[in-house]
């Protein structure tokens, strides 16, 4: 299967992951337990994009606002729309990232990395510049790895025997949240 076919036929994998991650983040008030690493904070905020249909018949729904106002997005999911993009705040250890994750292509957009002691070192020497660059690459790789770890959690449950139970819990959350 070439990449274009994979994107068309398997885009649901990324969209289901993003929906599951939203559920998971609200299950314990933003805390998600990462195997081997403990709790991290994952909060969906401000901006979401849902889509429905294909090609010219595709509809898009953009939801902006505070967390409490994402009711429209939940209703959209109940109407069969798919979560395509979400703005996420993720905190792990002492650091906090903001980024938009896209479901179909798994792209990271508008990533704001945490400020660190090294990144505030304004030296112009080659070593200082390289140090800042490595620090920044490290922060970008860490958010990329963390998203992969969350994705692995999803894949484990999605391909395992407990998926039907998990799916029931996601449906219950979705209906409850849309009613409130």
């Amino acid at each position: 299967m070439d990449l274009i076919d994979i994107i068309a036929e398997k885009k649901f994998v990324g969209q289901e992951f993003l929906t599951w991650l939203w559920y998971k983040s609200e299950e314990r008030g933003g805390a998600v337990c990462l195997p081997g690493a403990g709790d991290i904070q994952v909060v969906f905020e401000k901006h979401m994009l849902l889509e429905f249909g294909e090609g010219e018949a595709q509809e898009k729904l953009i939801c902006r606002g505070l967390q409490t106002e994402l009711k429209e997005a939940r209703t959209g999911l109940l109407m069969g729309k798919k979560l395509e993009q979400a703005r996420i705040r993720l905190a792990r250890g002492d650091y906090e990232w903001y980024f938009t994750l896209t479901a179909t292509l798994f792209e990271f957009r508008g990533v704001k990395v945490p400020k660190t002691v090294e990144s505030e070192d304004e030296g112009d020497g080659q070593a200082a510049v390289e140090g800042r660059m490595l620090e920044r690459i490290g922060m970008l790789e860490e958010i990329s790895r963390t998203v992969d770890e969350l994705f692995r959690m999803f894949l484990t449950v999605r391909t395992g025997p407990d998926w039907e139970d998990e799916l029931r819990r996601v449906r219950t959350w979705l209906h409850k949240a849309a009613e409130n």
């Binding site: 994979i6 649901f12 990324g14 896209t102 792209e107 660059m133 920044r136 994705f151 894949l155 979705l174």
Partner: protein, 201 residues
């Protein structure tokens, strides 16, 4: 939206293909061969090449190396002379009118008009200033992954071709299904292949 900007946007790739044993020499030689050549003082329409992430004018990596620890960091620079269709049509029509008046003919043949349009295009192109675009990348040599700092589909397609030309290795965009294949164990691979969309409502 690059590697060093306050807000970064990137797509993730894996690098497929076996790098040679003397990799750093190979990389340095290839980056030099495919470095950016300026076209400001020429009539070339298009130029693409590698420059330093710290300066789009540093195509010899005189001030900053492309090698940072276990990473190769580069900027793909593309300079292109462009003419908008509206401008080209305007000047082609103007030239057609001039020739019709000069020769006192009511209209010109289609072939003649095409010829005029091409001549006008070349004239305008030689006067147009090359428009630069830069896209950063960070290649992790330890795990053969690469971040490309643009979500522009055209730029991604250009990168995939130019990277292959430069290093003889292939970039594969890590969309969720492909990324998933690398994250799950062998037992889950079959289940992953068989997945069908779930109904959430």
């Amino acid at each position: 939206m690059g590697l060093l900007t306050a807000s970064a946007s990137f797509a993730r790739y894996t690098v497929e293909g076996k790098p040679p044993d003397n990799f750093w020499e190979f990389a340095a030689e290839r980056i030099k061969s495919f470095s950016f050549r300026d076209i400001d003082d020429t009539v070339d329409e298009y130029s693409i090449g590698w420059v330093s992430v710290q300066s789009m004018f540093d195509s010899e990596f005189a001030y900053a190396s492309h090698a940072v620890a276990d990473y190769i960091v580069l900027t793909m620079r593309i300079d292109e002379r462009k003419i908008s269709a509206a401008v080209l049509n305007k000047f082609a029509r103007k030239e057609e009118e001039r020739i019709k008046r000069e020769r006192q003919v009511p209209k010109l043949s289609r072939n003649h008009r095409l010829e005029i349009k091409e001549q006008v295009r070349q004239q305008l192109m030689s006067r147009a200033v090359p428009v630069p675009a830069v896209y950063d990348l960070c290649w992790n040599l330890a795990d053969n992954t690469l971040f490309f700092f643009s979500n522009n589909k055209k730029a991604q397609a250009v990168l995939e071709d130019f990277f292959k030309d430069s290093f003889g290795m292939t970039l594969v965009l890590q969309v969720p299904f492909l990324a998933a294949g690398k994250l799950v164990d062998a037992d889950a691979q079959d289940a992953l292949e068989r997945l069908r969309p779930a109904i959430f409502v």
